[in-house]
């Protein structure tokens, strides 16, 4: 990692997700205002901004996890491969199979490591037999760089792993359904520095196969792992562009204040 910014040059320009004039309300509280954003395929996109700026809320719009909150209302359009995900005909269940999610705190199910990873493929019916399922579990654990650590104890509970391992297990679990987009909501905030480094390295490798969107509190992390960065402030998308440009040459004074540590 001699020069983070040049190494993470953007490698793909296909648009995966496109958001237009997105508004989110919690009851009467207007949480997201007029957000337009294009998320590219095979790219790591970072959402940064001070607490309460709406970055996590916006992330949860991308796979309609906000549907689980009764008072939440979304307006505008968000398309995935050109299809509006808020269309009435869209089943959030199907959407979430394509847009996977990893949460702030590691949340392995109280099941074995194997069953944790096999959960998604089983409910979506991705396999015809046990051998295929075994294959997916192994592949997903390898992708999450966890295989070598757990291959001898796949039947032990997932909750018995260390924090970093648990988070990688959750990533493996999300990867197992073979999504196209992976949303990560502050995936390292509950981890120690060493586990964080492992997960960050993993995110960089996931870019080969997925479009990754990561919400982070840490500007260093955004700079290390992402190719594109969006800065949110008070529900507005203030600035969106290549990570290098955002961090070295921000156009908006608010972005500059934030990355230099004056607000946030």
């Amino acid at each position: 990692m001699k020069d983070v910014l040049t190494e993470n040059a953007v490698t793909s320009h296909t648009t995966k997700i496109s958001a237009r004039k997105v508004q989110v309300f919690y009851g009467t509280n207007h949480a997201i205002k007029d957000v337009d954003v294009e998320i590219l395929d095979k790219t790591v996109t970072a959402f940064i901004g001070p607490s309460g700026c709406g970055k996590s809320t916006f992330l949860r719009c991308l796979n309609r996890m906000n549907d689980t909150i009764p008072s939440c209302r979304v307006e505008g359009s968000i398309t995935l491969d050109g299809e509006n995900i808020y269309d009435k005909r869209v089943d959030p269940v199907q959407l979430r199979a394509k847009v996977g999610m990893v949460f702030q705190k590691p949340n392995p199910f109280p099941k074995s490591i194997y069953d944790n990873v096999a959960y998604g493929p089983k409910i979506h019916g991705l396999t015809r037999n046990k051998a295929e399922l075994d294959g997916i579990v192994e592949k997903s654990l390898r992708r999450a760089a966890l295989w070598n650590e757990v291959k001898d104890r796949l039947q032990t509970p997932g909750t018995g792993l260390s924090g970093g391992q648990q988070q990688r297990l959750c990533i493996a679990r999300a990867v197992a359904t073979n999504p196209e987009v992976l949303l990560m909501d502050e995936p390292c905030s509950a981890l120690d520095p060493i586990a964080t480094a492992q997960v960050e390295e993993l995110i960089d490798e996931l870019r080969a196969n997925f479009s990754v969107v990561i919400v982070t509190h840490s500007m260093q992390q955004a700079a290390r792992v992402s190719q594109r960065t969006a800065f949110f402030h008070l529900g507005h998308l203030v600035e969106y562009g290549e990570t290098g440009q955002i961090f070295t040459n921000p156009r908006d004074p608010r972005t500059e204040s934030y990355i230099t540590g004056r607000i946030g």
Binding site: R96, G100, M101, K105, G120, C170
Partner: protein
């Protein structure tokens, strides 16, 4: 003096003590209460406590011990005179009844002058029925009994008041300006608080002692092996009863099983719906409505079983299917008990499902699982230990339930598989063996204590196990 009057006297003494103590403290300080260690009121309070508490304790102890002493003295005198086949407890019951009725007939001398037959007739005229033949010895014993009771009451009055006065004098004598009245009062109150919390332990001890004592008595009259192994229950008054517990246990378990088959699916599914699907508004109305079921007294369910459910099941199921003609049946009691137990399952399950962290649900939903898949494959397995605990608590509740089975299940002890037949349970037999005129000498009565002990042990084991599971489950997510 009557107990009420003695109590009032003691209270009055103590209240007087409060004011005297207070006044004395003020005068000791020469009118300047700042010189006192504690507020003047504390000096009064300490006198009040020293006067009231020991004297009341003495009175209660006296009331508990006196009947036992009198009983043993009177029965010791009668022991030599009654025949070998007469039962002491029956004779003593007559003596007590006679002693209680003497006042209504006339003076003790008048009673002594009457022949036993005339006395019995006079008593019958007063509505007092005497069981056995009346002997002069018994009349004398009854008079003794009365005299002792009177003496005892007088002794209690004198001793209690003396203790109150002594306590008052002691406390008053200790009042000085530097006397730590507050500390003394507080220590005294602390002892009372500890005493109050020990009542729970005493209750348990009382339950175990009374059950064990009479059960041992029962097993000395009836072989324990027969009780625990025999499959026949047929008490006979002339003796030679079969008192096997199995038909009763079978009925108890069968009724409880049906109750759980009704209550667990309904209770669990309602809890799931309320916790996972219902809007807050539906929840605020429906949850208390279901809990109303738990607040309805069991006698109401009993009548419901007897009048509504029993005949309904008989006319629509048992008779058409040729399974029986009885309106009281295992099915009737089980069904109604199931309704009663629903809130026990649903409330606790609801709490437990709500304790499953939201992050697990998010994790599952985020992978594209439907809510029901999330519930079945993530939430319920995570909540399983707690739900098992809830079901066990409900089971213990069902096993110990009395009124529904008394009114709905029947009285015939049977080992049958047919749910539309009347069967009986442990609790029903406890009630039927212990109500009416009971005499604590025959195995037919004492068996109720052995049944009670069995019931106590089963429910206690279930409770301890269930509470342990639930507690362990709670710790897991705290």
């Amino acid at each position: 003096m009557s107990i009420g009057l003695v109590s009032l006297t003691l209270l009055a003494l103590a209240a007087a003590g409060y004011f005297i103590g207070r006044a004395r403290a003020v005068s000791v300080a020469g009118g300047d209460t700042r010189k006192l260690h504690s507020l003047a009121g504390f000096y009064g309070q300490s006198v009040f406590l020293f006067a009231a508490v020991p004297s009341f304790l003495v009175m209660i102890a006296w009331l508990l011990i006196q009947p036992v002493l009198i009983e043993s003295r009177v029965s010791a005198r009668l022991q030599t005179t009654i025949g070998p086949d007469a039962s002491m407890s029956l004779v003593m019951a007559d003596v007590r009844r006679l002693a209680g009725a003497i006042d209504r007939i006339g003076s003790a001398d008048e009673v002594a002058s009457l022949t036993p037959e005339a006395l019995k007739a006079r008593l019958a005229g007063q509505g007092v029925a005497i069981g056995g033949a009346m002997t002069t010895d018994q009349v004398a014993a009854a008079n003794d009994y009365r005299a002792l009771q009177g003496k005892g009451r007088l002794g209690m009055t004198v001793v209690a008041i003396a203790v109150a006065l002594a306590g008052m004098a002691l406390a008053l004598g200790r009042i000085r300006a530097d006397y730590r009245a507050r500390n003394v009062t507080e220590r005294f109150i602390m002892v009372l608080l500890i005493g109050a919390s020990l009542i729970a332990v005493l209750t348990t001890a009382g339950i175990i002692a009374s059950l064990l004592f009479e059960t041992i008595h029962f097993f000395s009259l009836y072989p324990a092996a027969d009780f625990f192994l025999s499959t026949t229950w047929s008490p006979k008054f002339g003796g030679g009863s079969d008192l096997g517990i199995w038909p009763l246990l079978w009925g108890t378990l069968y009724v409880s099983l049906i109750a759980l088959i009704v209550a667990v699916p309904v209770g669990l599914m309602s809890a799931i719906y309320l916790a996972e699907y219902a809007s807050p508004r539906v929840r605020t109305w429906v949850k208390p409505a279901i809990e109303v079921l738990a607040g309805i007294p069991t006698i109401v369910y009993g009548l419901f079983a007897l009048v509504t459910v029993g005949p309904l099941l008989r006319d629509w199921f048992a008779q058409p299917l040729g399974l029986g003609n009885s309106s009281s049946s295992v099915m009737t009691a089980g069904l109604v008990m199931g309704i009663m137990v629903i809130p026990f399952v649903s409330s606790l399950s609801d709490d437990i499902i709500n304790a499953v962290p939201q992050s697990l649900r998010d994790g599952s939903l985020g992978l594209g699982a439907t809510p029901s898949e999330t519930i079945r494959q993530v939430v319920l397995p995570a909540a399983l230990p707690g739900i098992v605990g809830a079901v066990l608590l409900a089971a213990s509740r069902a096993i110990g339930e009395t009124m529904i089975v008394v009114m709905g299940a029947g009285a015939a002890a049977k080992l049958s598989m047919n749910p539309f037949e009347a069967m009986t349970t442990v609790t029903v037999k406890i009630v039927s063996q212990l109500t009416g005129d009971t005499e604590f000498a025959s195995p037919e009565t004492l068996v109720a204590f052995a049944l009670g002990l069995t019931l106590f042990v089963i429910t206690l084991a279930l409770n301890i196990f269930a509470l342990w599971i639930v507690r362990r489950y709670r710790e897991q997510y705290e």
